[in-house]
Symmetry: D2
Subunit: 124 residues, 4 copies
């Protein structure tokens, strides 16, 4: 979060929004946000979304995610929204969207499987 300069904008039960302002260290060869930054941001948003519906003594691990890059990430600010689509005792599936600064263009879409683990982490 700090390395990305990301900011937690809002947390509701099952929906979390994180934003990230433009910085030269986060771009690729054409001055766009790097795909890895886009993916990291929405992975974090999905992780917090999953956490928001889990009991307090749980932590969350990303089991896997898939991301589709839909448009070039040419914007002043990325807005990543993570949402729970299916919450289970062990696994939670989330979907995430990355918008540009105007929140009108969807730049990327993610689907991810998150796993609840005890606060002292064991691995799946």
């Amino acid at each position: 979060m700090r390395t990305l300069g990301a900011v937690l904008e809002s947390v509701e039960s099952g929906t979390v929004t994180i934003t990230c302002g433009f910085d030269e260290g986060l771009t690729q060869q054409h001055g766009l946000f790097h795909g890895g930054v886009v993916a990291s941001l929405v992975d974090v948003a999905c992780g917090y979304a999953a956490l928001s519906v889990m009991p307090a003594d749980r932590e969350v691990l990303t089991v896997e995610f898939t991301i589709h890059f839909l448009k070039p990430a040419k914007t002043e600010r990325l807005i990543a929204v993570g949402q729970v689509v299916q919450a289970g005792r062990t696994l939670t599936v989330c979907e995430g969207s990355v918008f540009d600064a105007t929140r009108t263009r969807v730049l990327a879409r993610m689907t991810t499987t998150m796993m609840a683990v005890a606060a002292t982490p064991a691995w799946h």
Copy 2:
């Protein structure tokens, strides 16, 4: 690459290796490399692998990728290897592995679709 402190270790036709040393800015709550860092690194390795089999006037865009996190990324150094599994005129499919510093443990596996674009980028 610079933000990650990543180093291009080797480039062969269809196979590229990139490494990344441990740094506190790249870790999550348990002192492991963050999933987004792991994903970014192997995405870049796969992108270069795809590029290594394309004509010189092409650039590469990540259309999508899927990553499965297999083991906790507890290591001094990540070693990411990207490999071309199917090269086409427009699309190239790559698979990537992320190893720990000993190169014996596979921490994550990626599959990705890369697209060749003209050196002045148009978008798919």
Copy 3:
């Protein structure tokens, strides 16, 4: 489509719905629809959705898809809806949902990359 006994319910520009009634040949060990049937149905729905926004001389190939199974497919009838989320000249990204017969429960979610090819198919 015939092997599945699937029916094309509706075709709008960018959105296609296909349904499939319960049949013992399509189930797994617990009398639920098999995951492969669920995936096939929504892959077809996404393919037709992509085709619905392409020029008439194009055909569509599935480059890749990801499917998350959210709930057990215990229903009389599967309803699969495919929708275009990003249409490009070469690639089209679609998302699909599979509902139960009541259309209230989402059983599975798919994201897929489709490729437009000339009506006499070349391969990517």
Copy 4:
């Protein structure tokens, strides 16, 4: 399995091979095996591979899978091989390959997350 006419060729610990002969009911518009058939077959192979490393009182559910179609499935017989790449108490990650009848061409690649459940199935 029956609907596909699939045959279980071999089961070793962590690796399962299933084959499926050509049949007109399993093809798409160009006389190739349909993508859904290819996906179903390798999903089943991966599921059995996961099951082969689980305790006897467990069953297996597919949480999600991703499949990349690499070459047109123009062959007399599909050979699907599923392999465990990471086995955990709850989750098992498998990778699968689909070969043509000569076993020399890889037609598709899958990665999947499988979940162990009690023999009387609860859902994740």
